[in-house]
């Protein structure tokens, strides 16, 4: 089943940083669609909940050097 989750990253410091996180998240197995917005810091992930644990998303964002907050 497809599910959606949202995060807010307040510390993006350049537009490329947002695209890097977007690429990293879309490389996570089970992720179907990712939107990362630099201007608002909003991250929206659509994923297959049988293929991936949503906890992995926060870790991915952190590993790129940014702080995700649950929205």
């Amino acid at each position: 089943m497809s599910d959606t989750t949202q995060f807010r990253v307040l510390d993006f410091d350049c537009p490329t940083c947002a695209s890097t996180v977007e690429r990293a998240l879309s490389n996570v197995d089970g992720v179907q669609h990712v939107e990362v917005h630099y201007a608002t810091g909003r991250v929206e992930i659509e994923y297959d909940d049988s293929a991936v644990d949503p906890d992995a998303f926060a870790q991915t964002i952190e590993s790129q050097g940014y702080t995700p907050q649950h929205a």
Binding site: L10, C17, T20, A39, R42, G65
Partner: protein, 639 residues
Amino acid sequence: MNKQSITQYYRKHRKAIVTATSGLLYGGGWGLGYLTSFERASTAILVLATIVGGYDIAKTAYHEVSNRTLGIKTLVTLAAIGAIVIGEYWEAAAVVFLFSLGSYLEGRTMRKTRTALQELLEMTPDTATVRRDGELQEVPAREVEEGEVVIVKPGGKIPVDGEVVDGESAVNQAPVTGESAPVHKADGDEVYAGTVNQEGALEIRTTGAGADTTLERIIRRVEEAQEAQSPTESLIDRFAKYYTPAVIVLAIGAYAVTQNAILSLTLLVIGCPGALVIGPPVSIVSAIGNAARSGVLMKGGEHLERAGKIDLVAFDKTGTLTKGETTVADVEGFGVAGDEVLSLAATAEKKSEHHLADAIVDAARERPTAATDGGATVAQADDTDAGRHSIPDPDDFDVVAGKGVIAHTDAHEVVVGNRALLDDRDIDVPSQVADYVREREERGETVVHVVRDGDIIGAIALRDELREAAPGVVAALQDAGIETVMLTGDNERTAAAVAEEVGIDEYRAELLPEDKQSVIEAYQADGQVVAMVGDGINDAPSLATADVGIAMGAAGTDTAIETADMALMADDLERIPYAVKLSKATRWNVLENVGLAVLTVTVLLAGVLTSYVTLASGMLVHEASVLLVILNGMRLLRY
């Protein structure tokens, strides 16, 4: 401070600590080299400064490369490594420190823009007091079901959208509508989650809770608007895709030709179009956020940029410039008593849904019970219809669109309508009637004739009061160099009188709804950028035709929020000059930011190619320009 809280503190402020440490080391290393001859120690400290400041940057650069994006962090890392390789330790440490400081400040300021809206959401309380099984219970606000009754104490925040079922109070609706004055609420009135109950206790039947409230919808809408790219932004994004690789090629080419490593590395540092890509989104996000807090929803950057070019604002008259509450101002009988004219007209109009018909029927119901008792009211407290007249149904009834009605009652034919309807039916208008009509129309009133069996027996003058703010709003727009036009279905004379009262530049009278669209199209054909202000429902077609459609009183009407380019949450006309001026300010702000960015890049490129600018000074100017555009954009948050 125990170990755990130290770790937490470090995590939270990592960027600041790293930047400060790298800055101190950089300063120390530079000072040591400048003041003493401890060259090696100085070098070691500068390299350490580069490593401390550069570790996080390099880590992100690694992610950029492995995700195949080409960002500034990759370029900075390459430049710093390159500088160390060629022995320019001071340059390496300076680049890293200046970049960390710049991005720390950028992150902090952007956080402010990003949280501007969140403050609105935090207005909603987390819990609600509901009546369940006859008892009062405190439950999470998100779990309140539709139809449940919520109790809000004086001074409390309203946790859900709903309808007042008991109590009376003044509610501060600023978070939703931007109105600063509290609004009186009683039985049957709509209230919104996030607003503040100021006076009396209210019982509210829930119509929406959790994510299904007006405030939540507004915030989602605003975020979508902020994320939607404006034409300027997409243009810049397309440009940026080619700019960075082009500069890298230039850096390699420059090295091949000049063998000047510093020059090539400096090109890398300025190879990110920083201020250019950051400026416009910050301006637009700040402007949309500011507007939302003042009760104006903007659909997106594209609409905002277009609104910045508005040179004509067209207002629908009824309900926009006027209050939209038509009342009977005067009834005149010609050979018949005024009361009889009114009650006959009311019968004819009873089944009509026109707003003039409603006013006539209301006036007939409410008129003094008996003209002979001096207006004394008859006390019949237990009957809500006390003193009200009942209006008989007509035997049959036909609407003539835009002209009036024709009905039959008690074997009489009754025609209630304007001059056009009388002309259609060859009804003669005596000069006495024409004089009365002219006199009332010159006051801005609308007059309908009442005709019984072919003879005019009376006329009814109706008035729709101007909003107090209307003349000021028109004047404010004129001051801003914007042309103002009033569109109305009223006759020429009434329209002229109202137009003069508001001080509007131009008016178009006797328009059918579809005519309003053609009027707007005609202005557009003249090359004008036209905004249309209307109620969002009846005026939907003309709002859609205009370059910028502005809907009034949109709170609670989702269609208006969805379709209008700008929606004023409250019925507050004064937001229009504000919104138009904000759009103009935003357009300028975007241009300023683009101009500043292009200027910076040009100056930097010229400086690098003539060797006036090196790594550290290049980075300083680059970061300063980025900060400057962010701060300039953020001015719109306080506009």
